[in-house]
């Protein structure tokens, strides 16, 4: 009798996210991976600033709340303090990781710090009410770009996976999405690999999850998932951007 139910690593409380927000799906995937790898007792999560700021209320493991964008720096400290016994992951949004936390992210990747980063890219600042983020698409209407994002004034959206893949340091970079059941299964595989890399001591793994924000995009949950497919994925193509172990194996 196969049973699918709330994973043990997710505390049984209602999530505060808006209806249809894909944060809940990614929370569940991370918790399922923690359960499957049997690392709940030694996992330490780092929560960001943003909608997922209260992720520490939901994961059944030790959590630390970092200053805005500084989750990879805090994770570095936690991991280096006891590298043998702790599995450290950060859970960050795009306003956190790609804006104020860009320096911390790039340097953690360049050092190939042995941590796992889950990066939620929903192209908008969710918690503060829908302002333009570094990942907002060209022409996207937000609170601070009411006529659409103008690249002349605001530049172009940052592709985090592509940018980090130019570094020699990082071990594993992959972009996934959660807009349908098939993609959710692939996202889980990527997250599991990112955690497994850390257990094997391989180094910095980042999984970018292209997510939806129905409330601030002004759409229904279903329309938001369709908008991911039609507008976001052409600019943010899915795939593995760096897998150093696989590349080295191929070179041999």
């Amino acid at each position: 009798m196969a049973v699918y139910e709330k994973p043990h690593a997710l505390i049984d409380v209602p999530l505060h996210y808006c209806p249809g927000c894909t944060h809940g799906i990614v929370h569940r995937l991370v918790a399922e991976v923690i359960d499957e790898l049997g690392i709940e007792g030694k996992t330490i999560g780092i929560a960001p600033v943003g909608c997922s700021v209260m992720a520490y209320n939901y994961f059944n493991c030790d959590m630390i709340e970092a200053a805005h964008g500084r989750a990879p720096a805090v994770a570095t400290g936690v991991k280096r303090a006891d590298p043998e016994n702790h599995i450290v992951f950060t859970y960050q949004g795009d306003g956190d990781l790609a804006s104020i936390g860009m320096a911390e992210t790039v340097h953690a990747a360049a050092r190939n710090e042995n941590i796992t980063v889950i990066f939620i890219n929903n192209a908008i600042y969710g918690m503060t009410g829908g302002q333009m983020a570094p990942t907002s698409l060209v022409g996207q209407v937000t609170q601070t770009s009411p006529y659409g994002r103008d690249p002349k004034a605001c530049g172009y959206p940052i592709k985090v996976c592509e940018m980090l893949s130019e570094l020699v340091g990082p071990e594993y970079l992959e972009r996934v999405t959660v807009n349908n059941v098939k993609n959710i299964r692939n996202a889980k595989k990527a997250i599991k690999k990112a955690f497994q890399n850390q257990i094997d001591g391989k180094g910095f793994s980042l999984v970018e999850v292209v997510s939806s924000c129905p409330t601030n995009w002004g759409m229904t949950p279903k329309q938001a998932l369709d908008w991911i497919e039609s507008d976001m994925l052409p600019y943010y193509p899915l795939g593995v951007y760096k897998d150093r172990s696989a590349e080295e194996k191929e070179a041999e």
């Binding site: 996210y17 209806p19 809940g24 349908n180 279903k222």
Partner: protein
């Protein structure tokens, strides 16, 4: 024989499971209101459920339990 259980009070009525169900047996119960003030999801015909867990995979609030 598959069986679905809903934690109805945590449902936010986003209807992602309704679109994901290949059998089309889930619906948003517009005649009911849960503790959070949303219209919760319900199953119209449990006998047709094949236990594929697509609804479980899509549910952002993890309110669905699938047994088969």
């Amino acid at each position: 024989m598959a069986k679905l259980t809903f934690k109805t009070d945590n449902c936010k009525g986003c209807a992602l499971c309704v679109d994901a169900c290949p059998k089309g047996i889930l619906r948003i119960a517009t005649d009911k209101i849960n503790k959070k003030g949303h219209h919760p999801v319900e199953c119209t015909d449990m006998d047709q459920c094949i236990g594929c867990a697509s609804c479980y995979m899509m549910c952002p609030d993890c309110i669905i339990k699938v047994e088969r």
